[in-house]
Every structure is written in structure tokens, then in C-alpha cells.
Amino acid sequence: DAGITQSPRYKITETGRQVTLMCHQTWSHSYMFWYRQDLGHGLRLIYYSAAADITDKGEVPDGYVVSRSKTENFPLTLESATRSQTSVYFCASSERQGAWINQPQHFGDGTRLSIL
């Protein structure tokens, strides 16, 4: 089935550890995005990618690293996790950078990450 999948759905780790969140989409969309969702902040953009090997920072990129070697995959890595990175992370994809009528951003179901 076409769609966007994130893994793992839940993750608990300790401060200082490296953790990678995976995102895979089957639409062959050009753009992919990572957002974090925190109570009282809504969704904030971490990084996005316009195509394979092209990535750019969003609003809150510090402490995160991304890569995009294939169009369908866009992993997000926390190189040294901190408690402030405890959040729900959403991956999204779209044909356009800002989305448009009939070309919306589609979201995965998220990864709930807890850092102890």
C-alpha cells in the first residue's frame, strides 16, 4: 500500500546515546520533512529535503542530523540524545516544498521518543 511509514513507533533511550528514526514513503514525492510535536508548541520543522542528497535546516535543527541517499528514505539521527529532545516526531512528504491544493503534505503516524 502506498503511504508513509515511520519506525520505530516507540523508543526509549538514555541521554548521550545515538538514536535514528526511520521514514519511508512509497509515493516518490520529491520533498520530505521532519517535524517534532510538543505540547504547547504544535509542530515545528526540524529538517527537510528537496531531493536525494539535498537537505536543509528548518526552525529547530540543533542536535539533529539527516541524510537522504534514496528518494524514498529520510532518516533522522540524534547523535547525542538530550532530555529536551523527548518528543513525538513526524515525518511528512509532498510534491512541493510548501504544499498546495491537490499536493498536500502527507504525514506518518509518528515516533514517540522518550529520553531518560
Binding site: 504544535g42 528548518g58 513526524f90 510548501g98 504544499a99 498546495w100 509518528g110
Partner: protein, 112 residues
């Protein structure tokens, strides 16, 4: 820097009533304004969207009203149902902005 302000944070409406959520934006270059609906444990899903050259868009029980001069837009849910209980996010996009800029969300509860 919050470019999309959403209110109220939470809203309780009786079944059959009208739910109204308001948003105001700052970036006049935005050219696309979607509303997303999110259920617990799920990702946001597009509900309805509007372009700034249209003052109103209706899809079923959901209507967006858009006021370009005031830089405001709102979501109206008519005949609200318990199944509409969710968190709703407004957003703006376009004009060179990165991705979608979201409001902080409204937690809507429809009481039976």
C-alpha cells in the same frame, strides 16, 4: 517566532453545535492555508485547505472562512459530532517558507 497564531487552545462543544477555531498569520507571502485533523496516536491528516484568492471553502460540514485584509482564517464545523473530537491545526505555506508553519493546535471535544 510564531507566524501562525491559533485560538482557542481547547474547546468543548455540544453535539450538533458549531465549532469555530480561529487563526491569524503574519507572513503575507503565504499562498496556501490548510487545516489538519489529528487523532490520538496518529499523524495529522489534511482536512480542508484554501488559497488566499478565495474567501470561503466548504466541504461537507467543514468550512474555511478567509479574510485576507485581516490576515485571519477560521474553521467552522457544523453539526459537530463526537467523532470530530480531535486536535486541529491550522497552517500556512508558500512564499519561500520552509515546509508548513503550524499553529499550536486546538483540542476539540464534542460532548454527546
Amino acid at each position: 517566532q510564531q507566524q501562525v497564531k491559533q485560538s482557542p487552545q481547547s474547546l468543548i462543544v455540544q453535539k450538533g453545535g458549531i465549532s469555530i477555531i480561529n487563526c491569524a498569520y503574519e507572513n503575507t507571502a503565504f499562498d496556501y492555508f490548510p487545516w489538519y485533523q489529528q487523532f490520538p496516536g496518529k499523524g495529522p491528516a489534511l482536512l480542508i485547505a484554501i488559497r488566499p484568492d478565495v474567501s470561503e471553502k466548504k466541504e461537507g460540514r467543514f468550512t474555511i472562512s478567509f479574510n485576507k485584509s485581516a490576515k485571519q482564517f477560521s474553521l467552522h464545523i457544523m453539526d459537530s459530532q463526537p467523532g470530530d473530537s480531535a486536535t486541529y491545526f491550522c497552517a500556512g505555506a508558500g512564499g519561500g517558507a520552509d515546509g508548513l508553519t503550524f499553529g499550536k493546535g486546538t483540542h476539540l471535544i464534542i460532548q454527546p
